[in-house]
């Protein structure tokens, strides 16, 4: 699928910039992406710093930037840098004098400012000491509590008056309610008594154990004829026509 050995030009961007031709030997194919796992023939400076997700195509013409690791502290100065003399900044005398003057002023200002801050801090430490703050808080609480008690008394008076008013109103209402209730009870009693009276009146004609024989006798002796008739004109005829008895057996036979 792809050659296992090819050359790759690496351009590095930082101060260890150099062109290096490095031989890649091992690749892993992972979702169309080649991950560089090992570089043969290169120093430890490269291998430790390769970004694992950087792609390396199979095409040998493809060049890729690899960031080089910083020179470890234990490595000696590079040969190319051995006799390099760092350029020192040249500051004109006027500038230097001016800077010195400004710095002197600045330092004086800062010293006084710092001392002032420290003084304020110390003052605050005394001023906002725990015991002092606590005492002040207690005094403040006392003050607030006194004011609150005053208000509470005022409100208690108002409440007392209001409650008294409400109570009297409630008493009057209750009296009226009780009166109405009593009236209603009396009315109900009257109604019930009336009913009892009417029932007692009816009870005189009731059949009891004492007069039951008499009642039976009466019922047997006194036959009431309930037959009645009506004509087209709406005239009632009651008791005018004698009772007609039908022999049920005879009727049945006739029907058959």
């Amino acid at each position: 699928m792809f050659s296992k050995k090819f050359n790759l030009i690496i351009l590095t961007p930082n101060k260890y910039e150099m062109k290096a031709i490095v031989r890649y030997e091992q690749f892993i194919l992972c979702e169309n992406m080649l991950r560089v796992t090992k570089l043969i023939g290169s120093s430890t400076l490269i291998t430790g710093n390769l970004v694992s997700c950087e792609c390396a195509a199979t095409n040998s013409l493809y060049s890729q930037i690899i960031r080089w690791k910083r020179k470890p502290i234990w490595l000696p100065t590079a040969k190319s840098k051995m006799f390099r003399v760092p350029v020192k900044p040249v500051i004109p005398k006027e500038d230097n004098d001016e800077l010195q003057r400004l710095s002197n002023i600045y330092r004086t200002y800062m010293r006084s400012l710092r001392k002032y801050m420290i003084m304020i801090g110390k003052k605050n430490e005394i001023q906002f000491d725990h015991s002092v703050v606590e005492a002040a808080e207690a005094a403040d609480f006392e003050k607030c509590s006194a004011i609150n008690n005053e208000w509470n008394e005022e409100i208690a008076d108002i409440r007392k008056y209001r409650l008294h008013k409400e109570r009297t109103q409630r008493d009057v209402g209750n009296w009226w309610r009780m009166k109405n209730y009593k009236e209603m009870l009396a009315e109900n009693q009257e109604k019930v008594e009336e009913e009892v009276r009417s029932v007692k009146k009816q009870a005189e004609s009731f059949i009891t154990a004492e007069n039951i024989d008499q009642a039976i006798e009466e019922a047997l002796t006194i036959v009431i004829d309930h037959n009645a008739a009506i004509d087209h004109d709406g005239n009632f005829y009651k008791g005018e026509y004698s009772d007609t008895k039908i022999d049920i057996k005879q009727e049945r036979q006739l029907k058959q």
Binding site: D95, L102, L113, M117, I118, G121
Partner: protein, 139 residues
């Protein structure tokens, strides 16, 4: 990889009373996008160690309105200065620009250097213009 153990960005509030305190930047943000917290912490501690307290923030990149945003908790800065904390040069410079400290000499220096550079560039541009004019007249 998260920093372990994670600490609150506003600070842990822990103090070493004997150590020197310093007010300095801590670089947050990411590669090519700096963002700084202004913190107070012990001078011996590393940049990304848990700070004692956060005192502000500074965005060194200009925003859409061409502004660099900086926030300070002046009350706490005053408190920590009173406790003997030393601001670093860059923080002192920023505080100077904010009007809390006197202007730092380095601010003046950068200003005059920029001014000089601008003047030089303007002069060069003018010279180039004159030369081009002369060239056009002679031809």
């Amino acid at each position: 990889m998260p920093r372990m153990p994670l600490h609150p960005a506003v600070g842990t509030g822990k103090i070493n009373p004997f150590a020197k305190k310093v007010i300095r930047f801590v670089r947050y943000g990411c590669t090519n996008r700096p963002f700084y917290h202004i913190v107070v912490m012990e001078a011996y501690k590393g940049q990304r160690q848990p700070p004692t307290e956060q005192l502000g923030s500074y965005d060194s990149r200009v925003n859409v309105h061409n502004e660099r945003l900086v926030a300070f908790n002046f009350e706490r800065i005053r408190y920590w200065l009173g406790r003997g904390a030393q601001p670093t040069k860059s923080v002192a410079e920023l505080l100077g620009l904010a009007g809390f400290f006197p202007i730092h000499p380095r601010s003046y220096m950068t200003a005059w250097r920029h001014r000089r550079l601008n003047d030089k560039q303007a002069a060069q541009a003018k010279d180039a213009e004159e030369e081009s004019k002369e060239a056009s007249q002679t031809s």
